[in-house]
C-alpha cells in the first residue's frame, strides 16, 4: 500500500488552522487577502508533506507585494503573515522587521550598504516589511543611494530565499510604476495581494471590535451615528480606512469622558463609563465641516 498522510490533521496540529481562524475572526472583511493567505498556507503544507513522502518538491518563493490604500490592514496582515510562515516552518524565527526608505538608505557614499545589511540581518529568520517601497527608487536622480539599497535587496532576495521573506507594500498605482522601473523586483515577487477598501458596513464592524477591545460599546443610537460618521468621513480628505476609524474612536472617547465629567451630578456607573452615546459621536467636526477640512486636524 502506498504511504498515506493525513493532510487535514497536520493542518490542525501544526497550529496553522488556528492562526487562520484567528485571522478570520479578528480581521474584518479582506476576503481576497484571506483567500490568498489560505492558499499559500495550503501550498506550504502540501510542499512539506511532499518532502516528507520523498516526492520532488521545490521550496516556493514567498516574497510578496501588498498594495492598497492607507489603513487597509497591510501592516497588520504582514505581522500575522510572519507568525503564520513561522508555524509553517517556512521561516525559522518569525519576527517582523518593518522598515521604510530612511531605515535602508544612507546619507552619504558608503552609508547605505551597511544600513541595508544591518536590517537584512535583523530580519533573517523572519519577514522584512518595506512600507512605501517606491520611495526607494527616485527616477529623477540617478545618483540616488536608493538604487544601492535596491541592489542589495535584490541579491539577498534571490540568494537567501531560505533565510527571509521580503514583503513590499504601498499604494497600488505607485507600486505599479515602481515595478515597471524595477523589473528585478517584479520577477522576484510571485505573490501580489491587493487590499480593497473597506465597505461602510465593514468599517462599522471594525469600529465595534475596536471599542470592544477597550471595553466600550456603542448605544444603539451611537452606533447609527457612527454609521453616518463613516459615510461622511469617507468623502473627506485624508481618509485612511480602518486607521481613520481608530482615530475617530480615540476622539470619541475624549468627548465621552468630557461629557461624563461636565454633565449631570458626576455620579457614574460602570454602564455609563463604558457606553458611548450618540452626542459623543455626533459632536465630531466631521459632521459640521462637510467636505472642506483639508490640512486641518479632523476631530
Amino acid at each position: 500500500m502506498a504511504a498515506t498522510f493525513n493532510l487535514r490533521e497536520a493542518f490542525q496540529t501544526s497550529g496553522v488552522a488556528e492562526i487562520l481562524d484567528t485571522l478570520d475572526r479578528e480581521l474584518i472583511g479582506l476576503a481576497p487577502v484571506k483567500q490568498r493567505i489560505r492558499e499559500t498556507a495550503a501550498l506550504l503544507m502540501v510542499e512539506r508533506v511532499r518532502k516528507d513522502l520523498g516526492l520532488a518538491h521545490e521550496t516556493p518563493t514567498l516574497h510578496m507585494s501588498f498594495t492598497g490604500n492607507p489603513g487597509t490592514g497591510k501592516t497588520t496582515v504582514a505581522n500575522r503573515m510572519a507568525g503564520l510562515l513561522h508555524k509553517l516552518n517556512y521561516v525559522r524565527k518569525g519576527q517582523l522587521v518593518s522598515v521604510t526608505r530612511d531605515d535602508l538608505v544612507g546619507q552619504y557614499i558608503g552609508h547605505t550598504a551597511p544600513k541595508t545589511k544591518e536590517l537584512l540581518k535583523k530580519a533573517m529568520g523572519g519577514v522584512l516589511f518595506i512600507d512605501e517601497a517606491y520611495y526607494l527608487y527616485k527616477p529623477d536622480n540617478e545618483r540616488d543611494y536608493g538604487q544601492e539599497a535596491i541592489e542589495i535587496l535584490l541579491q539577498v532576495m534571490e540568494n537567501q530565499r531560505d533565510d527571509l521573506v521580503v514583503i513590499l507594500a504601498g499604494y497600488a498605482d505607485r507600486m505599479a510604476k515602481f515595478y515597471e522601473s524595477n523589473p528585478g523586483f517584479r520577477s522576484r515577487i510571485a505573490h501580489h495581494i491587493d487590499f480593497p477598501d473597506y465597505t461602510d458596513a465593514e468599517l462599522l464592524h471594525i469600529a465595534e471590535i475596536m471599542l470592544d477591545q477597550q471595553s466600550y460599546r456603542f448605544s444603539p443610537k451611537a452606533r447609527d451615528a457612527m454609521g453616518d460618521y463613516i459615510k461622511t468621513r469617507r468623502t473627506q480628505p485624508h481618509f485612511a480606512n480602518a486607521r481613520s476609524i481608530r482615530n475617530a474612536l480615540d476622539r470619541t472617547r475624549l468627548r465621552h469622558a468630557n461629557r461624563l465629567l461636565e454633565t449631570g451630578d458626576g455620579i457614574v456607573t460602570p454602564e455609563m463609563l463604558s457606553t458611548v452615546e450618540e452626542p459623543d459621536v455626533r459632536n465630531s467636526r466631521v459632521f459640521s465641516q462637510g467636505g472642506s477640512v483639508e490640512k486641518q486636524t479632523i476631530a
Binding site: R92, K93, Q95, P114, K117, E118, L120, K121, K122, M124, G125, G126, Q160, D163, L164
Partner: protein, 129 residues
C-alpha cells in the same frame, strides 16, 4: 603549525553548519556577535581587526553567516574568529570565542630564550610566515 585558541580549537575545524549552530546558541543567550580577522594569530595580539560592528538584536544565525562569508571573501588566508559578548550587568564581557576560519598554511610561532642578568630568562614569541 595549528593555532589553538578560544573554544573548540582542539577539535577538527567546524564546518559552516556547525558554526551556525554555535551562533544560534549564542543568540539564544542574547549575546552580541562580533566577527574579527587577522593575519597575526600571536597570542599577545589581542586586538584583531573588526569586521564591521558587533551585531546586536539578531534573531537568526543567517545574518552572521553572511558576514563571515563576506569577511572570508575580502580576507582570504586570514584567521576569522567569532566573539559572543554578554552585556548583562556583572558579565559585560566576551562569553565565548572561537575560530571560524584559518589560512590553508598557518604561520609558526617560534619561541626564543634570552638569558639576562642573574640567569633570568626572557621568552619571546615570534610569528614566522
Amino acid at each position: 603549525m595549528r593555532i589553538t585558541q578560544g573554544c573548540f580549537s582542539f577539535l577538527p575545524d567546524l564546518n559552516d553548519e556547525q558554526i551556525a549552530a554555535q551562533i544560534e546558541y549564542c543568540l539564544g543567550k542574547n549575546w552580541a556577535i562580533g566577527v574579527e580577522y587577522t593575519r597575526d594569530p600571536h597570542p599577545r595580539n589581542t586586538y584583531w581587526n573588526m569586521w564591521g560592528n558587533p551585531m546586536f538584536d539578531l534573531k537568526d544565525a543567517a545574518g552572521v553567516m553572511m558576514e563571515i562569508r563576506d569577511c572570508r571573501k575580502a580576507n582570504p588566508e586570514n584567521y576569522i574568529r567569532i566573539n559572543a559578548f554578554d552585556s548583562t550587568r556583572g558579565w559585560e564581557t566576551v562569553r565565548m570565542s572561537f575560530i571560524a576560519s584559518r589560512p590553508k598554511v598557518e604561520p609558526t610561532i617560534e619561541m626564543t630564550r634570552l638569558e639576562t642578568g642573574g640567569r633570568n630568562i626572557q621568552y619571546t614569541h615570534v610569528t614566522r610566515y
